[in-house]
């Protein structure tokens, strides 16, 4: 189809707007990257825009040599792996049985679960419960209380519904029990949704800090990286607090602040292009709510 001239102009206008959008998305990161790689003098003289001036890896060396920061990065990575595994197992354990129409009590269990999406008890009741369970200030409080997301469970269950019943029935005729059907049929066929939800849970846990802030405030050793980062960013002007909050050496400069943020972002940026192809299809599964 031959396009009219005004239509082609329209195309280029749209493309231009998209370029602006790309710039708006990338600009902050480029600026941050540039600042983290520049010399402190150049930053104070406001010379750093999008490109590093006075290329200088000192900030990264400083940050990575700090044992608290290093440990927090490693610990957050470990925590993310553990929490994501627990979450995925719980989600599968929840979603799979609910795909059996014949399961007695299925309606009741469904309602039981979905209700929690619409009414939640609040921050303080949760806090008091965790206090009574003696879970406060222990790392497990970052794993268990929010391990199963109803939204994600619905996505997984919707995906399981798309797998033909005939596969299950023929397996059952061959004598397979539900667990065998799960491991041999459903899971291998569900790779897209498993990848997507793993990504959702992992990113959620890596980026999460409010639960650590509320439930684990006194146990600084196990702060996730975001919480450590928050303290560092907020306390850049005060030397005493920086010594206490995150760094064993005083004297944070802006370039170091940029480097700390950059390092915490790197894992997400690394993982992102690789998993990008999965989550687009996975996210639309949630839109088609059954």
């Amino acid at each position: 189809m031959v396009k009219s001239k005004s239509s082609r102009i329209g195309d280029y206008i749209v493309a231009f707007i998209c370029v602006l959008l790309i710039v708006a998305c990338l600009l902050p990161m480029l600026n941050l990257l540039a600042r983290s790689l520049s010399s402190p003098d150049a930053i104070i003289r406001n010379e750093v825009l999008l490109w590093p001036k006075g290329l200088n890896l000192e900030a990264y060396r400083f940050v990575l040599s700090d044992s608290k920061y290093r440990w927090s990065l490693i610990w957050t990575a470990i925590l993310t792996v553990i929490a994501t595994t627990v979450s995925m197992i719980m989600t599968i354990l929840c979603a799979y049985p609910l795909t059996y129409d014949k399961l007695k009590g299925r309606r009741l269990i469904n309602t039981f679960i979905i209700l929690t999406m619409y009414f939640n008890a609040g921050t303080i009741p949760m806090y008091l419960l965790l206090k009574d369970l003696h879970m406060l200030n222990k790392p497990i409080v970052l794993i268990i209380p929010n391990c199963l997301s109803v939204f994600n469970m619905i996505i997984m269950r919707s995906y399981f519904y798309t797998i033909p019943e005939s596969l299950r029935e023929s397996a059952e005729i061959d004598g397979a029990g539900p667990i065998r059907v799960l491991t041999s049929i459903y899971l291998p066929l569900s790779k897209p949704v498993l990848a997507t939800l793993t990504l959702f849970y992992a990113v959620g846990r890596w980026n999460g800090f409010s639960d650590a802030l509320m439930y684990m405030n006194n146990n600084r050793k196990y702060y996730p990286i975001q919480l450590l980062l928050y303290n560092i960013i907020k306390s850049i002007t005060s030397i005493e607090i920086t010594t206490q909050e995150g760094f064993t050496n005083p004297g944070l400069t802006e370039t170091v602040q940029a480097a700390t943020v950059m390092i915490a972002t790197v894992p997400i940026l690394l993982v992102y292009p690789w998993l990008q192809k999965y989550f687009i299809s996975g996210a639309t599964l949630g839109a088609i709510k059954d």
């Binding site: 959008l21 600009l27 941050l32 609040g122 303080i124 419960l129 199963l148 919480l227 928050y230 996210a283």
Partner: protein, 318 residues
């Protein structure tokens, strides 16, 4: 068999049916035990702590043994609404949510329409990839970037503004500017991600409609107005009503990360109020009352939203 024969079937046969059923499906129930236990413990039991909103909390006493508060238990609700900080938090929550809605709701729709118009496939994929990325950043990181980028003297944006001859703008330090920065950063983070749903809905619009319209001489804008937007209507209505239902809900991460003591009168929302006064300030009864108020209002709004959605002919949210 006749009906009476069914009723008078031997009981053992019913037991046998039950046992057969269990033998087949017992593993499923076993699998459901951890999830159900999780919801029971971490979602339903906290609901029993809500009673603290009506009682005088004391650390030494068990929740069930606490004495009732004054005014038939509503003492803390009255205290909340007489508390200046809470009233500000309430106002801020609604104000920020409304701004998010008014400015932030149309944005992904417009972007989805724009992306849909792009004929350059590779460029479209690239734009989408870049646009989705901010969604994966934590608010702490975004706050870190924003603090550097929007700093009054040394931030890139203000350097450009100064070179244009204008005064630097205190994006994050002045309450009035802070509100708009807050909303804009929210759009920045979510616009790409939110287009996913609209783009998915756009692909389900019949292409023949576009061809027919083109034959009838409809230009691009008319096509969008008469075909694309009506095609998106179900998605838009459902999401809009859901957003309206959430008008009183309060996210914690964004205002907490972006806020500072200079803008406290606008950055304090219900979630941060509960955190500051409850977990830090130990005023458990007061903040539980606040939380309960918020949850109840949210449920009411969601029910209204559901009824409205159904009235518009769309599926509800239950």
């Amino acid at each position: 068999m006749s009906i009476s024969a069914y009723a008078s079937r031997p009981v053992s046969s019913r037991y046998r049916k039950a046992i057969n059923y269990l033998r087949q499906y017992w593993t499923l129930y076993l699998m459901l035990i951890p999830p159900i236990a999780f919801f029971a413990i971490f979602r339903y039991i906290p609901m029993t702590y809500i009673q603290i909103a009506f009682k005088k909390y004391s650390i030494v006493k068990n929740v069930w043994e606490l004495p009732w508060a004054n005014n038939y238990g509503f003492e803390y609700f009255i205290k909340a609404f007489s508390n200046r900080d809470f009233l500000f938090a309430l106002r801020n929550t609604v104000m920020l949510n409304v701004l998010d809605l008014v400015v932030g709701f149309p944005a992904p729709i417009i972007l989805a329409l724009l992306l849909n118009e792009l004929p350059f496939k590779r460029f479209k994929r690239f734009t989408q990839t870049v646009a989705y990325m901010p969604h994966f950043l934590s608010w702490i990181i975004i706050a870190g970037m924003a603090t550097q980028l929007l700093a009054p003297t040394s931030g890139l944006i203000n350097i450009v503004i100064k070179r244009l001859g204008l005064d630097p703008i205190p994006f994050l330090n002045d309450p009035n500017y802070w509100v708009w920065t807050y909303v804009f950063l929210g759009i920045w983070q979510s616009i790409g991600w939110n287009t996913i749903i609209y783009l998915a809905a756009l692909t389900s619009i019949n292409p023949e409609l576009y061809e027919a319209a083109a034959i009838d001489g409809a230009g691009r804008f008319r096509q969008i107005w008469h075909i694309t937007l009506p095609g998106l209507r179900p998605t838009i209505v459902t999401l809009l009503i859901l957003s309206l239902g959430r008008i009183l809900s309060s996210e914690f991460d964004r205002p907490y990360a972006l806020g500072n003591h200079l803008v406290n009168n606008v950055s304090n929302v219900i979630a941060t109020f509960v955190y500051t006064n409850g977990i830090r300030g130990l005023q458990f009864s007061l903040t539980t009352a606040v939380g309960l108020f918020q949850s109840v209002v949210c449920v009411i709004f969601l029910v209204i939203a559901d009824i409205l959605a159904k009235k518009f002919g769309e599926r509800g949210i239950w």
